[in-house]
Amino acid sequence: MDKIEKSLKAVHENDLDNLLEKIGKKADLEVGNLKCKFCDTKITKENLYSILPESGTFNFICENSECVNALLVYLDERKNKQIEQ
């Protein structure tokens, strides 16, 4: 049987500036304007866990375990909704 392969997108912290510049968020990060989607904590390069593109905007998630768990449940529910539709 064929093996299924799923891609996991990752960004190395060395490339964060480049990536954030491409989406126009580098300055926002530097002045502390980016907040975690789930706990509203200020996002920094050190506490950033994930970037989530949604409907043309970008959400940022911090490393707090509750926020990571919330992200995983959120993504799960979104995908289930997409399947149901």
Binding site: I4, N18, Y49, S50, I51
Partner: protein, 376 residues
């Protein structure tokens, strides 16, 4: 000659290299081993790349990628041999690595941040936890509650890390496992139950298998709370089964839900086995098939006598009911309850699947299954 052209060529190569010198022979044997074990090859490549990355910074990308891919894919390869489920393999792709590269943003496709060599364990933990939840167990969690989902993710990730990256376990416990359990009583309760199920050796081969089967089902009018309650009952059933006293018939061996139906048949009674009579076990299993149970698991000691007897029982069932699929047979060490003390045992598990009993679409009026009367 083995009859396999590739193996024959490799054997010839070993003999030729042996004629040259011993070192070359060892190198050839190692290369052949790695050819047939690509994930081991990746683990070694990752270790070399981590060393090289002290000098060449760009090697770090390769080291992170191969380390995580080999950890997850090696585990999945072993897991697939023990269940009917097909799990995805991971492939890490870097975003933003090249300044001129155009990044394709897909809606709701999260990008995970990876750190440099000082945070090697953290990288493994982040990626394994994310992938286990997002891809590997997604189907199994289709109809679960939030705490059921999170607890399954946490426990499965812990098992993967223990098997493939023991050095990262402490980081995972500190960053995710302990805080999640402390913050949510339901996660704590489910984790305690998984620990019992895992001690019985059937966390992936029965629980995740059954949850995955449930994930394949479609509810035209979703009875969310009802499904979550059923999952909770299934977990309790498996916990009780794994905690039962060896030799006791007091614990139920069959789970009949509206959407999930399975049975675990112990095939280990010395008196029945020594008589050489397969009929009593065959009758129990065929009753389970006639009662439309989807999966029937045979479990018993894995000593040669009992394993051969279990196979005889399975053969006699398949002779009579040929549409039953023999999915897998695995041998593992678990712990069984002997007079109140858990002791290690070598155990054999054979999974039979009854495809004609599987119901994929449930309408609101569907209650037929719950009214089925089970006869032993």
């Amino acid at each position: 000659m083995t009859g396999n052209p590739l193996l024959d060529k490799l054997t010839d190569l070993i003999f030729v290299s042996y004629g040259l010198n011993g070192t070359l022979t060892i190198i050839v044997i190692v290369l052949i081993y790695l050819l047939f074990h690509p994930d081991t090859f990746k683990k070694w490549a990752s270790m070399i790349a981590w060393v090289g990355s002290r000098i060449w910074k760009s090697w770090e990308y390769f080291a992170i990628k191969t380390e995580i891919e080999s950890d997850i894919n090696a585990f999945v390869n072993r897991l697939e041999a023990r269940t009917k489920i097909r799990f995805p393999r991971i492939k890490i792709s870097w975003a933003g690595k090249n300044k001129d590269e155009e990044i394709v943003w897909e809606d709701s496709e999260a990008i995970i941040v990876m750190r440099d060599r000082k945070y090697r364990k953290k990288n493994v933990v982040h990626a394994v936890y994310f992938f286990t939840s997002e891809a590997m167990l997604r189907k199994s969690k289709m109809h679960l509650s939030k705490s059921q989902k999170t607890s399954v993710d946490l426990y499965a990730t812990l098992k993967i890390l223990k098997a493939e990256s023991a050095a990262s376990v402490q980081q995972f416990m500190t960053d995710y496992f302990t805080p999640s359990i402390n913050a949510n009583g339901d996660i704590r309760k489910y984790t305690s139950q998984y620990t019992s199920i895992d001690r019985g050796g059937i966390f992936f081969s029965v629980l995740i298998q059954e949850l995955s089967s449930l994930g394949n089902k479609v509810f035209l009018e979703k009875p969310t709370q009802e499904v979550m309650n059923e999952v909770s009952n299934l977990i309790t059933f498996l916990e009780n089964f794994c905690n039962r006293l060896t030799g006791s018939n007091l614990v139920n061996d069959t789970f009949i839900g509206r959407y999930t139906r399975c049975s675990i048949k112990v095939v280990s009674s010395a008196s029945v086995r020594e008589s050489g009579n397969v009929f009593p076990h065959k009758k129990r299993i065929i009753n389970a098939i006639n009662n439309r149970l989807e999966n029937i698991y045979l479990i018993g000691r894995s000593d040669e006598g009992n394993k051969a007897y279990m196979e005889e029982v399975v053969d006699s069932v398949l002779d009579e009911v040929p549409h039953i699929e023999r999915v897998s047979q695995t041998v593992f060490t678990n712990q069984i309850n002997i007079k109140g003390l858990f002791r290690p045992a070598l155990t054999c598990l054979i999974q039979l699947h009854n495809p004609t009993a599987v119901k994929y679409i449930f309408t609101p009026e569907d209650t037929a299954i719950s009214e089925t009367v089970i006869e032993e």
